[in-house]
């Protein structure tokens, strides 16, 4: 117990990047400012200490890829006991409506074609704190999102090996994480077969070229590019092919939004609820930081933008509370499911406080709204991003 506990702590620290911060990074390099990651600003912003949920300070999103140890952390019960997911003990079971149930080790998975995709992973509740009236749940602000390179195998290749029966409609995922009290429902969810068979839906064992860290789902997690992270089950151990959607709280009650707009706190008469799936179009202003100061000189405003299943077409900025909008310019990598970085050179007109707003539009014409339709659990927030700065004379 004590040994595995230490090993566990080591892994957790590794996931948090504390060990890296403490032992490997020379302080002098950071002080000299020649460390590319010098915008790292202390620990992640913890929203819940146990189980650990934490978001990334948005100012760190100047880099295209979010480093593993700076990536937001979210789970319902915390990582599983490390014994359950060591290479010797861990297995992936694939069953249900299949011709041939499988039990795969990591070595077996390595036999499938290796694929890499850069994709945004975002908590469905990112921005929950901005919904009015307020709603219950982890009060995420802007940083429960990140962009990483995921490497693993196509889910559809694994399903093909098991052989799908004709009545297969949904694919259910279960991880090794468990609540402290067994009367709490397990985090079990499913995705429709169509998404499961999409060539970009994958089971990832690497994140940014490193084995998946414990906090991010070691040894294997689901990645559903373009969809919110409630489908990206971590510590994956069981895939079950079914005719029906998964049963239980986390599929049938939680992670659902009303199909049509509803009055806040009105109850849900005549509205049906559907699972949170694709991401909605969204942009963030990364620099300057909120409440920051800038000089009366040209300022490069930087940010990121992404959408669900379409690419981002434009990002615009407003300096007059949304009356007029100026187009920003895209820079850097352009990949299907990754976020797009953008810049705008702004010449402040005079000293004083200025609110900078951003909104993105995607290729399907979805526009980031001023504020997101209220929903009882506060999912899918994508209201205009807003940063207030003081221009100094």
């Amino acid at each position: 117990m004590s040994l595995s506990r230490r090993a566990w702590l080591g892994k957790v620290l590794q996931g948090l990047g504390l060990s890296a911060l403490v032992s490997h990074r020379p302080v002098a390099a950071r002080a000299a400012g020649n460390d590319p990651s010098s915008n790292e600003s202390g620990p992640l912003i913890a929203r819940v200490t146990r189980p650990y949920d934490a978001e990334t300070p948005v100012r760190e999103f100047t880099s295209f890829l979010t480093p593993n140890h700076r990536f937001f952390v979210r789970s319902h019960f915390g990582p599983p006991a490390p014994e359950l997911i060591t290479e010797a003990n861990w297995k992936l079971r694939v069953g249900g409506l299949t011709d041939q149930p499988l039990e795969l080790t990591l070595k077996d998975l390595a036999q499938f074609e290796r694929v890499t995709i850069t994709a945004v992973v975002q908590c469905s509740g990112n921005g929950r704190a901005f919904h009015r009236p307020k709603v219950p749940g982890v009060q995420w602000e802007r940083g429960a999102v990140g962009n990483a390179q995921w490497t693993g195998v196509r889910l559809r290749d694994v399903l093909a090996k098991a052989g799908l029966r004709r009545n297969a409609k949904h694919v259910q995922f279960k991880g090794a994480d468990r609540p402290v009290v067994s009367s709490v429902p397990l985090f079990v969810r499913s995705i429709p077969l169509e998404k499961a068979l999409h060539p970009d839906t994958m089971l990832a064992y690497e994140m940014n070229g490193r084995p998946l860290p414990l906090l991010h789902g070691a040894p294997l997690r689901v990645i559903t590019p373009g969809w919110m992270a409630d489908s990206c089950i971590k510590w994956l151990t069981d895939i079950t092919v079914q005719a029906e959607e998964a049963k239980g709280y986390y599929m049938q009650t939680a992670y659902r939004v009303p199909v049509t707009a509803i009055q806040p706190n009105s109850g849900l008469p005549g509205t049906s609820m559907v699972p949170v799936e694709a991401m909605v179009v969204k942009s963030l202003i990364v620099s300057p930081v909120n409440d920051g100061q800038v000089g009366l000189v040209p300022v490069t405003i930087q940010g990121v933008a992404w959408s669900g299943e379409a690419s981002v077409a434009t990002v615009e900025l407003s300096f007059d509370e949304g009356k007029t909008w100026e187009p920003a310019r895209f820079v850097g990598e352009d990949e299907r499911y990754a976020w797009r970085r953008w810049q705008y050179v702004w010449k402040p007109k005079g000293p004083g406080s200025v609110a900078i707003l951003s909104r993105a539009t995607d290729a399907e014409g979805q526009v980031q709204p001023q504020s997101t339709p209220w929903n009882p659990s506060g999912f899918l927030w994508n209201g205009w991003d807003r940063v207030t700065v003081t221009v100094q004379a």
Partner: protein, 205 residues
Amino acid sequence: MMTFSRVILSALVLGLPGLAVDTSAQEDDLASVSAALAPRAEGLIIARCSVCHSPDLVSQQRLPKDRWMATVDKMKHWGAEISNDESDLLVRYLSARYHPGAPDHLPPFDSELRKAEPLTQEPVQAGPLVGVAVRGAGIFEHNCQACHGAGAIGGMGPKLAKNPILKHEDLFWETVLYGRGPMPAWGSVLSQQDIADIHAWLLAR
């Protein structure tokens, strides 16, 4: 999209007068309700609600009474060990302290806890307390097992069976009454007899 934003807007407009009625007199009422209930309620939150998650998940919410009620009911259904009286008290406290108009930053739990009084002001016993192991088994199961494991063999909290601390009674009592780090303080939840019973049961493991 148009209809969405219109619904939101009208709802906001309708909602605003409601907020404005929230006069400072009402604020004072809420503050005095929460101050009166704080010692017991904060004790319950630490002892009962932090078995599965840290109390910061509770204190970051700002909810109206009906949503607090639904949340506490859900937690009870999932396994929070609270009686009906305790959940009533919690809902009254939570909706007075963590209501939608409350400031984002309230003093942390710790400062409330320091004010927490023991729930049971029993007269100091004439003689030493005598624990009853059979009663201790049940009290342990309801209060300690979630963290210290069935049979006290350890879990998220350390193993207590055969733990040397059992022989250092003053240390044991201090830890259980006042808590330590993630270990909740039980002084405002359990009676001294309850703690003595748990101690007796642990010694027999």
